[in-house]
Symmetry: C2
Subunit: 565 residues, 2 copies
């Protein structure tokens, strides 16, 4: 037997026994050949690396992630993830599906096939996410079953929990077909509890990655829901609970990670550090990014460095920083500190680079005309929360003058959503809790349909920002005083950049800073902006159909009542 | 929603959180509909059962079991297992495959399909177990792949670890084809360690159910071997180790259980009690017979009582006795204390009831003739161990008189293995460490080829016992002083009884007792007897080919050297 590589003097993390052992790891043909715990195996080796007693961990695995909401091209993302020790992500490509349908998903699958890290796919379960979206494409049940046959390993987050619980026949059929094919069924059920939770799980969905508290996490775990714990769920209480659960009952996931966050904090490494800081033993935290997600996803060859398993592993500087020194995936070097091998870009069909077709927007289009000269109007308003992407449904009184709604006099902010797939439909709404004083922001990165959303307190800037985004074939732009303050082009399907990580990260950071300066108070103003359109997250959202009452699944008018003076 | 059944006031064991919770469990259509933890769900129910605060557990699952080595007909076995809270076994039908090939396996699969408990199948990996067996049938690679397509979920214990490690092409291909089809690969590697273990695991086999010590269990676990812990491995040291492992790294299994043991001690319930007695917390012990085996075997709907999971559950008297009070499988009652529903027998094709075809045996056939009048002979002898089914390879000097080997003068015991599939081949051997003074025992229940083995110190009784077994179309018989002392007919393929549990259990107990009385010192003389023929277990065995040196995979002569006086 000859090995391609031996990594000597490892302090190897073994999830099966939840301990670190001193050993040499032999690799052959992309798999681990042998783990020598001081027995002095005699195996000839083509290449040798000395870990110098440093920690060696199985490559990290993210069981719930969206490649296509990272704002990065897949090849750029792959390089950035590898640098953080992540060698496998399971992605639900529902952003791309909303923009470009099955064709887009198939292109993404092909593009990801040649990446240095592993990308497994889920079948997007809800495209459109709700009947009140206006996406570039839809997935029929046939499309979804075709994707299931094409190697997808799971059904992506079943967001329409209201639909499933109430027995929506199409969704029920999809879930049951997916189960029948042995797919893992991924969930999304924020705050679901009691009998509704039982019903959701009974229908076949048995994971959740939405915001967890220790109380609902315990309820969910007891009912067989595999907990996919995001950063926003990582509180002391939740970590206390995780400490008590068997390590196969949960994992850590990142869901959506924007470039600035990825460059600054990292990926799963960041969550492990955070969890450890909150009291989770490192052995359990590592289990939650290695064997637990592998087992959950049925990836039997992944999640551990052991004979026969994939040679996906990272040599770390130390267990505190978790900084990767060298990372291998399939036995091949995918990252080396100070000299990571480049990742080749995949060619993109021209049509996926010009997906933004917006009718010209004028300031008049943004005026809200009322059938009364002067008086007040009662309006439905989206309440933006500072620390969450959930919104509240507010009702406010706004003055009317000269037949126009004077929202600008009441501290509200205007929002417009414009179809960007050439169909012309658009709608206006009002926001409270965020401001874009004397400016505007626009983006085609707006979940899940990725139409063009524009928010601002200045109609002139709203038009300017919208024009800028359209001119870039998609992206994000902030306009102040009539001129563009900053922008990030996202020409790949209107949601992904072709820039390197550092450049995209800087642009995103700049945009967030600009938004904050203009008065958009939010822990992540770009995340807030890009989810105002998400018609499956409570309570009130704006799509091209108008204001959507998420819980009752209906469109509600902007203006409820007008009182003329 | 209407439920078929509600079990109220459960103290439910939840493996996901490793705790007991008070709740009501609703069942509908064979699955758990809802688990109500005091919220007062309003669900109409057709039937109600009050658990009265007693423990309720998911039905026990045995991931490594042989239905066909239980000596019971499948329907009798199923009833006995259900009474112990076991609702699922994963069986490797290699006994039936050795007797009746693919046809036999397909019949068994069909027969098990109508049982009240779940029986999942593995593809027997080695039929014959080695080139030195002489079975009724063999499985070709094509046969095995056909079984893989017919719904088998795993490749059965790859016993020929020597073959696999040395790269036997047929076996390597089988393992890789099975992996490719997503089958779990089950192992069997007694004492394997170091680089040979790495190689075995590298080839794709990642479990082991053979005798474990804490040392080799730790080594195996570290290398990714899922530990299937049998009773013989349940020592204080091993349990100490299990306490430290994550609960997904091991399970409890029973492998072969004879009727007397099943009736007296039980099944997995017995192992749980034993493990707890040795220090394993009950929460972990229960995990090891519910969620751990289900996850290992990819049985996603089993192993827990939670919404959407199978309604396989047992109401127990208490956690100390673990005695089952009521047991459900697929939501149907399969056991109720004091009044279990009967299980219908499945019709057996006539040919499976007459599988024993032995040429008449005479006392002269048992004489060992030597090409010398008088002197001594050096002979190879099987050393029987008192507390194990492993054997030692001994070399002894035996007197020769009148051209005959006088083994009877040296404290040895004679053994004969006779082909029982009408092919006439037979061989003789000698045993040390066990006696059958003035008598003999014979059986067609002899792993893995299930030929007729006869051991004894009286050739007359050996002939009588053999005739008795042949006359019963298979079974076990003990003869003393020329007449049959006790016997158990096993007419179904020569290895399974058609009697009820109690009757078979009494017969087996009687046979063991008789063997012990006659001088067969062993913790389980019948198990010892029936494995003397197992040519894959070290060190020396007897098949119709003669004495088999297991480690070097060759036949060795009974008589090594003769010195004439």
């Amino acid at each position: 037997v000859e090995a391609d590589l031996v990594v000597r003097n490892c302090r190897l993390y073994v999830p099966y026994t939840m301990e670190f052992i001193e050993c040499d790891v032999y690799v052959s043909g992309g798999r681990v050949l042998a783990v020598d715990c001081g027995e002095g195996y005699r195996i000839a080796c083509r290449e040798e690396l000395n870990a110098g007693g440093r920690p060696v961990v199985p490559g990290f695995i993210d069981a719930h992630f969206h490649v296509d909401s990272s704002m990065l091209a897949p090849w750029t993302l792959a390089r950035a993830l590898a640098a953080r020790g992540t060698t496998c992500v399971v992605t639900d490509p529902h952003e791309v599906a909303n923009v470009a349908g099955v064709e887009g998903v198939e292109w993404l699958m092909e593009a990801c096939g040649s990446l240095p890290i592993r990308v497994y796919f889920q079948v997007p379960s809800c495209v459109p996410a709700s009947p009140f979206e206006d996406p570039g494409a839809e997935l029929s049940l046939e499309d979804q079953l075709r994707l299931a046959e094409r190697g997808c390993i799971a059904l992506g987050e079943v967001m329409d929990y209201v639909g499933l619980v109430s027995g929506d026949p199409r969704l029920s059929r999809l879930v049951s077909e997916a189960r029948h094919r042995g797919l893992v069924i991924e969930g999304h059920c924020p705050g679901l509890s009691g009998l509704d939770l039982d019903r959701y799980v009974y229908a076949g969905v048995d994971s959740d990655h939405t915001k967890l508290t220790s109380g609902n996490a315990l309820e969910k775990a007891r009912k067989g829901v595999f907990l996919e714990v995001q950063e926003k769920s990582l509180t002391e209480d939740v970590v206390d609970l995780l400490c008590r659960l068997p390590p196969g009952s949960y994992c850590l996931v990142t869901d959506d990670v924007l470039p600035d966050k990825l460059a600054r904090d990292g990926h799963l490494d960041h969550l492990v550090r955070l969890a450890v800081k909150l009291g989770l033993p490192i052995e359990k935290a590592l289990y939650a990014v290695t064997l637990a997600p592998a087992a959950r996803m049925g990836l039997r060859d992944l999640g551990a460095v052991a004979p026969g398993k994939a040679a996906d592993l990272a040599v770390l500087e130390d267990l505190e920083s978790l900084r990767a020194r060298v990372v291998f995936c399939r036995g091949r070097l995918v990252y080396r500190r100070g000299g990571a091998p480049p990742v080749e870009a995949v060619s993109v069909p021209r049509r996926f680079l010009s997906t933004v077709h917006v009718a010209p927007l004028h300031e008049e289009d943004l005026a809200i005309r009322i059938g009364a000269k002067r008086g007040t109007a009662v309006v439905n308003v989206i309440g933006v929360e500072e620390r969450s992407t959930l919104t509240r449904w507010l009702v406010r009184e706004v003055p009317v003058r000269d037949g126009l709604l004077r929202w600008d006099e009441t501290g509200l902010t205007l929002a417009a959503v414009v179809n960007r797939y050439g169909r012309g439909r658009r709608a206006l709404g009002l926001l409270e809790g965020c401001r874009v004083e004397g400016g505007a922001a626009a983006t085609t990165y707006a979940h899940d349909a990725h139409n063009l959303i524009i928010v601002g307190n200045s109609p002139r800037d709203m038009v300017a920002a919208a024009e800028k985004v359209a001119g870039m074939s998609g992206g994000v732009a902030v306009s102040v005083g009539g001129s563009i303050r900053c922008a990030l082009p996202l020409p790949l399907m209107g949601i992904m950049s072709l820039d390197p990580l550092e450049k995209a990260a800087a642009a995103v950071a700049e945009i967030k800073e600009a938004l904050r300066e203009l008065g958009y108070r939010h822990t992540d103003p770009l995340k807030s902006l890009s989810t105002l359109t998400l018609t499956v997250a409570p309570e009130l959202r704006l799509s091209t159909w108008g204001l959507v009452d998420v819980k009752r699944r209906r469109v509600v008018p902007l203006v409820v009542k007008v009182s003329e003076e």
